[in-house]
């Protein structure tokens, strides 16, 4: 544990677990919508199950007060971050259902959530392209001089984009207040990381990429929110002090397939089996990942530490389930936008 990083107390640890549950429960409802309400979710949806500990541990390191809050940009796999930052799950589900009451009025959908009032400035659906954008937010934070830090989330695949190299070079050169959280879930869609990453192929962690940009790089077990919190909080402290960026590789395992099937209209959408099973014929790998699911892991840890008893854990789960059921009900009952709303917001 880093000395400079405050140790989360019992309430904070339970808060972390609750946020992890909220993300999982929200996304279980999204996934279930494909079978329970076919046609309600269109296009391509990506789930973060398996990444909850990493998301929550990272965001727990951010400042919400005093002063202007820290800021976050992420990818098309974006449901978890705004939930933790305080976005309304009703509005988020309504956005994914394409409703007028959606977080972005039905203009963005699952891949493009944005909630600027809560510091979530948006996402790019194009791999790696959000990295320079978040770096620009950090440039703004640096010259605004109010101590803000930016968290930039992206996946292992994005770290092979030119945008990654260009942005990390500038961030280190200018000592920008940003932390790059590389969520390494081992798969770039259906390609294993060892098949497309020179560091991984050489048996090295992806955080060694930081060396090329003269910034610190650390690799952390992304299945434990406290370990992620420790690493990211240390990096946030460094960024806020003016010492510059850090690359944090958070090792996670995505428990769902990359996304729902890509199919033309008329074909019912659904989530296929995970690529380890469906493509690589490695069910044992997938089952091992399921046994290491960060949610029961955190629950067991809290229980063993005496921070949460079984009744309290069940009550927590029940309250979160109720919250997310209400989000589905709200979204289903919400109206669609008027068609001619499509011409609003093209220009400011």
């Amino acid at each position: 544990m880093n000395d400079a990083v405050p140790v989360p107390d019992r309430d904070r640890l339970v808060w972390m677990y609750r946020q992890m549950l909220r993300i999982r429960e929200f996304e279980e409802r999204v996934k279930a919508t494909f079978t329970e309400h076919p046609g309600v979710i269109r296009g391509h949806t990506h789930l973060a199950d398996g990444a909850e500990a990493s998301i929550v541990g990272s965001l727990a390191a951010l400042r919400t007060s005093p002063g202007p809050g820290d800021q976050v940009m992420a990818t098309y796999r974006c449901h978890g971050y705004p939930l933790v930052l305080g976005s309304d799950p009703n509005a988020m589900m309504a956005e994914i259902y394409g409703r007028a009451t959606g977080l972005c009025g039905g203009y963005g959908g699952s891949m493009h959530l944005a909630d600027p009032e809560r510091g979530f400035l948006g996402t790019s659906g194009i791999v790696g392209q959000g990295i320079p954008q978040a770096t620009g937010v950090a440039y703004a934070a640096q010259i605004r001089k109010q101590g803000q830090v930016v968290l930039c989330f992206f996946g292992d695949g994005a770290s092979k984009q030119g945008a990654f190299a260009e942005a990390l070079n500038v961030a280190s050169l200018w000592k920008l207040p940003i932390v790059y959280v590389l969520e390494n879930n081992s798969y770039n869609v259906v390609t294993r990381v060892e098949q497309e990453d020179a560091n991984a192929a050489a048996g090295e962690p992806l955080s060694v990429k930081a060396r090329a940009f003269s910034m610190p790089g650390v690799t952390v077990d992304g299945g434990d929110p406290v370990l992620v919190y420790d690493a990211v909080a240390a990096a946030v402290g460094r960024a806020r002090s003016g010492a510059g960026p850090t690359l944090v590789e958070s090792k996670i395992y995505r428990l769902s397939a990359h996304g729902n099937i890509i199919a033309p209209p008329g074909v019912p959408l659904h989530f296929p089996e995970h690529e380890a099973v469906a493509v690589f014929g490695a069910p044992e790998e997938y089952e091992a990942a399921r046994r290491a699911d960060p949610l029961p892991r955190m629950r067991d840890w809290l229980t063993a530490a005496g921070a949460l008893d079984a009744d309290a854990a069940d009550a927590l789960a029940a309250s979160v389930a109720m919250e997310m059921s209400a989000a589905v009900e709200f979204a289903l009952a919400s109206p669609y936008p008027a068609p001619d709303e499509a011409l609003r917001h093209v220009y400011a």
Binding site: P116, G122, P132, Q133, G136, A140
Partner: protein, 320 residues
């Protein structure tokens, strides 16, 4: 009050005046502000004026981020072709964010890019590539042809709350003209009728405006009165002024340095066919670059570009 100023100096004056007026305006890009003697650096300091690496995706992507966070970046890109390295940020990021967020964020930024450098720069630094950007909802496109418009359109671009591609023509860099002092704004979407005439409408952009005016002078000697219109911005496009003119003249010649199918001329021709077909007494004529990469050698370079003679010939063809 106005005084004569070079086109490039007029652009710099607009950036400088807007930076003085609004603390949120930033200016960064390659090979600027590398010494303490840089005028922008001296005036506005190293927070707001920065040299970047040769990293267009980072430069434009960071401009998007800084804009999302409340600033108004102007990115110095030098050559329009360098935007192609970062096409995703220009086309699929900057103009999408506001819309995808349902209007919850804005992305005010200016991409300052020179184009049309047909002075022996050969195939990769000479294109007139604005057509790649005019069909992208959410982007605006400005194409100044005079020093005054260069100043006024740049100031308007910086104050606009949307991403703007500001394409300045390299052949006009040192052209001088009267430029108003102090605050000067040219509104977007307002064409300039550079010369009035009843016989034929010529629409031209950038350096082609000068060639169209020269052709109009030559035609006047043979009794043909050409009206010359410079749209000044392609997005938004002032079709009303063009249609009013065509209603009057019944004849339309479109001059464009871009290749035919990538030109603004093709778009304007389609709009006139759609909205003003009944006004036409002759087919619309397009005088564009020929369909080739810009060649290095001078005779070949001149051969593929619109010139005064080609414009006058097109006018004679529709007047007949």
């Amino acid at each position: 009050m106005s005084r004569r100023l070079a086109y490039i100096a007029a652009i710099n004056e607009a950036i400088s005046q807007e930076m003085a007026r609004d603390q949120s305006v930033l200016y960064f890009g390659q090979n600027i502000a590398t010494t303490e003697n840089d005028e922008f650096l001296k005036a506005f300091g190293g927070d707001r004026v920065r040299v970047t690496p040769i990293s267009e995706t980072a430069e434009i992507g960071m401009a998007v981020g800084a804009a999302l966070a409340g600033y108004r970046p102007v990115v110095e890109l030098y050559m329009a072709e360098f935007m192609l390295v970062a096409m995703d940020q220009v086309v699929n990021e900057a103009p999408r964010f506001r819309y995808m967020s349902g209007g919850r964020v804005t992305v005010p930024l200016v991409l300052k890019a020179g184009y049309g450098f047909t002075a022996g720069w050969a195939g990769q630094h000479t294109g007139s590539i604005y057509g790649m950007f005019t069909g992208v909802p959410g982007l605006k496109v400005a194409l100044p042809a005079t020093p005054a418009d260069a100043k006024g359109l740049m100031a308007t671009a910086i104050r606009d709350d949307n991403p703007v591609c500001f394409f300045h023509h390299y052949l006009l860099t040192l052209e001088e003209g009267e430029v108003p002092e102090g605050e000067y704004l040219v509104p977007f979407g307002q064409a300039d009728v550079r010369r009035a005439g009843d016989d034929v409408t010529i629409v031209a952009t950038g350096a082609m405006v000068g060639r169209a005016l020269a052709a109009a002078d030559a035609l006047a000697a043979s009794g043909v009165a050409a009206e010359v219109i410079d749209p000044r911005t392609l997005v938004p496009l002032d079709m009303a002024t063009i249609l009013d003119s065509v209603r009057k003249t019944g004849r339309l010649v479109l001059v464009d340095q871009a290749t035919r199918h990538a030109s603004a001329a093709a778009v304007i021709a389609a709009e006139v066919a759609d909205q003003g077909f009944g006004y036409l007494k002759a087919p619309v004529k397009l005088v564009t670059a020929l369909d080739a990469t810009v060649p290095y050698s001078k005779p070949m370079e001149e051969y593929i570009l619109p010139d005064e003679e080609k414009i006058a010939a097109a006018v004679r063809a529709v007047i007949r």
